[in-house]
């Protein structure tokens, strides 16, 4: 049973909210670990899988930069700890997005756009599917122009490279627009060929993620201690079992995998 792309968006948003609401390194570390687990369990094989690593590295970099910024002001243990925790929060958000990118198929995200957004979503899908052709076309143009003896490096060469690509692209756009028009684009209310079902797994994951987000939001609203550990003075952070359990709910997508199914 696959998880509906909207459910993944809900999961990423809720995990983001959980991370936003706290700077407690224990909660954040748990969320990071869960994001890693969900990635490992659910990632779609293919090029998007490497985005997790990219976001992980970006997260570490953000944390490092954030901590380094302290050195522009007074440096003491409190400030450094404070900065490190803020940095860790940023890193957590980025890692969550890394997981989201690795588990969703870009076309799926676009295809499930609500009807109002159909045209912009379609344009985005088109951009994605035409891009490889544009890149291949650029390589061909470059080679062909080299064979003519034209320069292909430096600024002067740009018109000879860019114009054929653009002109051909424009002609393709006309063909595409004609084809879409002739096939009824914009006619009226659309239907969906394979509506992605909201299956049990998607509902379960969404529910769990929402619960986690609500728990942390409520905790933040009522000012529960431990969400923002004190750094002035520097004290060991408190953790509550309840919030740990709530954060743990974010692992449901990874736990609900049936054997063998992606």
């Amino acid at each position: 049973m696959n998880i509906h792309p909207a459910a993944w968006i809900a999961w990423a948003t809720c995990a983001g909210i959980v991370a936003f609401s706290t700077t407690n390194p224990f909660y954040l570390a748990l969320v990071i670990a869960i994001a890693w687990f969900v990635y490992a369990a659910c990632h779609v094989p293919g090029p998007t899988a490497r985005s997790f690593r990219v976001f992980l590295i970006a997260g570490l970099a953000a944390m490092a930069i954030r901590t380094a910024l302290v050195f522009f002001g007074t440096v003491d243990a409190n400030n450094v700890a404070f900065a490190a925790m803020e940095g860790m929060r940023l890193a957590t958000i980025l890692v969550v997005f890394g997981t989201f990118n690795a588990v969703t198929d870009p076309f799926g995200v676009v295809r499930m756009a609500p009807r109002r957004f159909h045209e912009p979503a379609l344009a985005a899908a088109l951009a994605l599917s035409i891009a490889p052709r544009t890149i291949a076309s650029a390589q061909r143009v470059r080679e062909a122009q080299t064979l003519r003896g034209l320069r292909t490096t430096g600024l002067r060469s740009l018109p000879a490279l860019a114009i054929p690509i653009l002109e051909t692209g424009m002609e393709d756009a006309v063909t595409l627009a004609e084809s879409m028009d002739a096939r009824g684009h914009g006619h009226g209310t659309r239907s969906r060929y394979r509506p992605q079902p909201w299956n049990r797994r998607s509902i379960l994951c969404t529910g769990a993620a929402l619960t986690a987000a609500v728990a942390f939001s409520a905790a933040a609203f009522t000012g529960v201690a431990g969400l923002h550990p004190s750094t002035f003075p520097l004290l060991w952070p408190e953790v509550s079992a309840g919030l740990l359990a709530a954060a743990g709910l974010l692992a449901v997508p990874g736990l609900s995998r049936s054997r063998g199914a992606p």
Binding site: F107, L122, A125, L126, S129, P132, R133, S137, R140, V141, E143, A144, Q145, T146, L147, R148, G149, L150, R151, P159, A160, I163, P164, E167, T168, E171, D172, T175, L176, A177, E178, S179, M180, D181, A182, R183, G184, H185, G186, H187, G188, T189, R190, S191, R192, Y193, R194, P195
Partner: protein, 522 residues
């Protein structure tokens, strides 16, 4: 008496920036279930006519439109194209540029989604179309990974799922190899004969389709003559080689298929003995050449010697290695073994060898045709005289036109001029006649002959059997990266079942062109 599928009432149409009408007082009716062919030179109005059937003309293109077009009873000026999607399907020439989604299945469903068809019904129609066009094994494939013929069939299926009974296609086989073209024409025949569809096709490549249609529309400068295909083709002085032969020897009606021609060929001329054309000194020497493409072996130990004055046709299925061989000869593809020598040394790309790429528009970037040639001349530090090469290719009258405003055939000639202006003694062309009209093909042929006559070498990769038969002095066949045949056209093409020209099929090996046969018959 049922309504006609298409009715044109005194239609005159001029494009927004057009000087003269693209369609001039077109008045005709097409009955349901007819298989119709639109023929005529480029610019005569075929394209505008096709687009008038579904409202793209005038609603998409703009312009001045007089008269009325009724398709399945609906007036195209009162219904936008999207409102006609359920009665008429339109398939453009370049199928790959018309795809909207990624998977074949989804592409087929797109039209129905637009019209709000219920999911259960959609699934049924998709299955029907997959079977009808024989593309069921492709259903989960990405459209970008399909071959040309497969893409064309998917485009046809996608246009038909919404249920239209009228199918309009703009040069569907122009960019396909022979097998792909066969498959598409066969699919169209099935649609007409088994399912009662009305099919309207515009084509330049008439060898296969001319014999399959019931009615032809002959276009000439905007006006249309409707009639029997043989008659229309004879009158327009175009057509497959058997038709050209028919005109030359005065057969009436001209045959449109090899079968018709065989019936008419009573006298069998004497067998011509094939003789190897005397080639000049070796200019291209390919020794033990092996090359890879995307990590897969594309060429295996090719040995080839080509002399001055030769015009070589390189033929073979898609993926046989033709493009890789051309690129190796020009010097941009590094071999994994063996070497290529041009005039005794490693070729300097663009200087010793010129290559006109498969998509000629990928090199056009100037504002005028003359400027296009000039940029090559300047880059090679040659005298600023674009007209010479333009005259050689017969396009000097286009010198001040914008290259992108020209037809596919004219663009090919402009690209060839831009490449040949560098005066490299060896000229390579990758599928030059793809999608071009007979007139441009004629000019290209003449140019190749004069280039060879001056001692140069021309090598072109092609699927166009008739081109090879008409102009090549030698044919090299590739399969799986190896040379499987190499010799004079009469022998090599005469031997092949798939690549035999029509004259060979009618009269036997050794006969290549209608002119040749007509001369022997006189």
């Amino acid at each position: 008496m049922s309504d006609p599928a298409l009715r044109f009432d005194h239609v005159t149409f001029t494009y927004p920036e057009g000087a003269r009408p693209a369609l001039a007082d077109v008045d005709l009716q097409i009955a349901e279930g007819a298989f119709v062919l639109a023929v005529g030179p480029t610019g005569a109005g075929k394209s505008s006519f096709l687009r008038s059937t579904n409202g793209l003309v005038p609603q998409f293109t703009g312009g001045r439109f007089r008269g009325r077009v009724h398709v399945a009873g609906r007036d195209t000026t009162e219904h936008p194209p999207r409102a006609l999607a359920d009665v008429v399907a339109f398939v453009p020439q370049d199928a790959s540029a018309s795809f909207v989604l990624d998977r074949v299945e989804d592409e087929l469903a797109y039209g129905m989604e637009n019209l709000g068809v219920a999911p259960a019904h959609m699934r049924r129609r998709v299955e029907e179309m997959l079977d009808l066009l024989d593309i069921e094994p492709l259903r989960t494939r990405s459209v970008r990974t399909l071959s040309g013929g497969e893409q064309q069939r998917v485009a046809i299926a996608a246009a038909l799922t919404a249920g239209p009974r009228i199918l309009v296609l703009d040069e569907p086989t122009s960019q396909l190899d022979p097998q792909g073209a066969e498959d598409v024409i066969a699919a169209l025949q099935r649609l007409v004969h088994d399912h009662g569809a009305t099919v309207l096709v515009a084509e330049h490549r008439l060898d296969r389709v001319a014999g399959a249609v019931d009615v032809a529309l002959g276009f000439d400068r905007g006006s249309v003559r409707m009639g029997d295909p043989a008659e229309v083709i004879r009158r327009l002085a175009i057509g497959p080689p058997v038709a050209r032969l028919g005109r030359l020897v005065g057969w009436d009606p001209v045959p449109l298929t090899v079968r018709d021609a065989r019936a008419l060929a009573r006298t069998l001329p004497m067998r011509i003995v094939a003789h190897a054309s005397a080639a000049g000194e070796t200019r291209i020497s390919v020794r033990g050449l092996s090359a890879e493409h995307d990590g897969v072996p594309a060429l295996r130990r090719i040995d080839l010697r080509i002399g001055g004055g030769e015009i070589v046709a390189l033929m073979g299925r898609n993926g046989a290695g033709k493009t890789t061989l051309l690129r190796s000869i020009v010097g941009v593809h590094r071999p994994s073994a063996g070497d290529v020598l041009v005039d005794g040394r490693a070729p300097q790309p663009g200087v010793d060898v010129g290559l006109c790429p498969q998509e000629p528009e990928s090199i056009l970037f100037a504002d005028t045709v003359a400027d296009e040639v000039r940029s090559t001349l300047q880059a090679r530090e040659l005298p600023d005289d674009p007209d010479t090469i333009l005259i050689e290719l017969g396009i000097d009258d286009l010198a001040s036109r914008h290259p992108r405003d020209l037809s596919a055939g004219q663009r090919l000639l402009v690209a060839a001029a831009a490449i040949a202006a560098a005066r490299a003694p060896v000229l390579l062309l990758d599928e030059p006649t793809r999608g071009i009209d007979p007139d441009a093909k004629e000019r290209l042929t003449r140019f190749l002959r004069s280039h060879a006559a001056d001692g140069g070498v021309a090598v072109f990769a092609t699927h166009d059997v008739e081109l090879a038969a008409a102009v090549a002095t030698r044919v090299v066949m590739l399969a799986g990266g190896e040379v499987i045949a190499d010799g004079d056209p009469a022998t090599v093409l005469g031997d092949s079942r798939v690549f035999a020209p029509q004259m060979t099929r009618v009269f036997g090996p050794g006969w290549l062109t209608p002119e040749q046969v007509a001369e022997a018959m006189a």
